[in-house]
């Protein structure tokens, strides 16, 4: 049960970060990823609801489960709000340039970089390429096919097609794009 809630929290927070990034770059791919995650969170929410109810029938003081209901509802609400932000991008409204300015003022920029063929970092570990000291970007997530790998370790080996998510300064993002041999998808 705890693992379902953990996943909900992880996904909802990832969605918020990604939705801001989608706005910043007016990027449909990222926005669609948020929408996909929203479906996952919906399923987890349903699962969590069933688990709470079945637990409630087995304990003598079901009100002890109230905190679980509150947290589940809150993470679901956060995920929904993130999807609404992503929706601005998927609807194709020429997102106001003001978003770009606003997002740049917050000091953490989230980068999303795909590793393309002939990138010099394919089959190398983060440690070998000294990614962090070279770019100043902290990679917090890698998407490989349909899987999300959170907080990859130093000995993580980069493969072609991986999508790296990192936090850092904008100058670092450009360096990372060079290493990845991919132009940003717009």
């Amino acid at each position: 049960m705890a693992d379902v809630l953990t996943q909900m929290k992880n996904n909802s927070e990832l969605m918020v970060a990604l939705s801001y990034t989608a706005l910043l770059y007016n990027n449909r791919y990222i926005a669609e990823e948020v929408i996909e995650l929203e479906e996952i969170v919906d399923k987890l929410n349903y699962e969590m609801g069933k688990k709470i109810l079945s637990k409630a029938s087995k304990v003598s003081t079901p009100e002890d489960l109230l905190s679980l209901i509150h947290i589940t509802e809150a993470t679901e609400a956060i995920a929904d709000a993130a999807a609404e932000i992503a929706d601005i991008v998927t609807r194709g409204i020429d997102a106001h340039p003001i978003f770009k300015e606003a997002m740049k003022e917050t000091d953490q920029i989230i980068a999303r970089v795909k590793i393309c063929s002939k990138s010099i970092i394919i089959d190398k570990t983060f440690q070998e390429i000294k990614l962090q000291s070279k770019t100043g970007i902290y990679i917090f997530l890698v998407k490989r096919d349909k899987d999300y790998i959170y907080s990859p370790k130093k000995n993580f080996t980069v493969r072609e097609g991986d999508i790296l998510y990192g936090i850092g300064m904008e100058s670092g993002v450009e360096k990372l794009q060079e290493l990845a041999n991919c132009k940003p998808q717009i």
Binding site: N10, S67, A74, A82, I88
Partner: protein, 204 residues
């Protein structure tokens, strides 16, 4: 029940840029979520009440952005773009409301189920607090120089100094001995931060 019910007081219209409003709404809503989870983890009413306080600040920002948006619209194109701004503002407000609901668990003295702690402690991003010891290299260092974000992936969401708490400290904030840092990050990153705060680790 909640200790106090918010009373909406009248806001006075002041011209302010939409960009500034958006930045503040984004920053406050993110901060509120982090603080709400930490109020539960640390069973801290003080932090929980601050979340509720920030919620009314969000209400005010939302009001201001609506007024500013209405005044800015001159054409259909304007209106379309501004609707996006309003959608963003309403989503940020939803996030902040969710954070307020989380804090209410603590404010209403609700019993926190052990599964909640299990789930929060296993989460990817967790929140911890550490005291900066006199031996720590962080003492008298600015957050900018410390580069905790890009080097170890941990973010200082608040600093407790004596009786006051500074939320969202800026880059120029100087860390002092005895400060309690409330930080968000992965388990690995926070372990490193812990040894930096205690002075065991001097390079990162």
């Amino acid at each position: 029940m909640a200790k106090r019910r918010k009373v909406s007081r009248p806001f006075k219209y002041k011209p302010i840029s939409v960009k500034d409003l958006l930045v503040e709404m984004k920053d406050i809503s993110e901060l509120m979520v982090d603080l709400a989870y930490s109020s539960i983890l640390f069973k801290n009413k003080e932090i929980a009440e601050d979340v509720i306080e920030l919620e009314s600040r969000m209400d005010e920002l939302n009001y201001r952005i609506r007024i500013t948006a209405m005044l800015a619209s001159r054409s259909v194109e304007d209106a379309e773009r501004i609707s996006a701004v309003l959608q963003f503002a309403s989503a940020s407000e939803k996030i902040s409301n969710a954070a307020g609901d989380l804090s209410n668990i603590i404010i209403r003295d609700m019993k926190v189920h052990p599964i909640v702690y299990e789930a929060l402690e296993d989460a990817e991003q967790i929140i911890e607090k550490y005291e900066v010891s006199s031996k720590s290299k962080l003492a008298n260092m600015t957050l900018k120089r410390a580069e905790l974000g890009s080097k170890i992936g941990t973010y200082i969401i608040a600093v407790k100094r004596k009786t006051s708490i500074k939320y969202n400290p800026s880059k120029g904030f100087v860390i002092r001995e005895g400060d309690i840092l409330i930080a968000r990050g992965s388990n690995t990153g926070l372990e490193i931060l812990k040894s930096i705060c205690s002075g065991i680790k001097t390079k990162w």
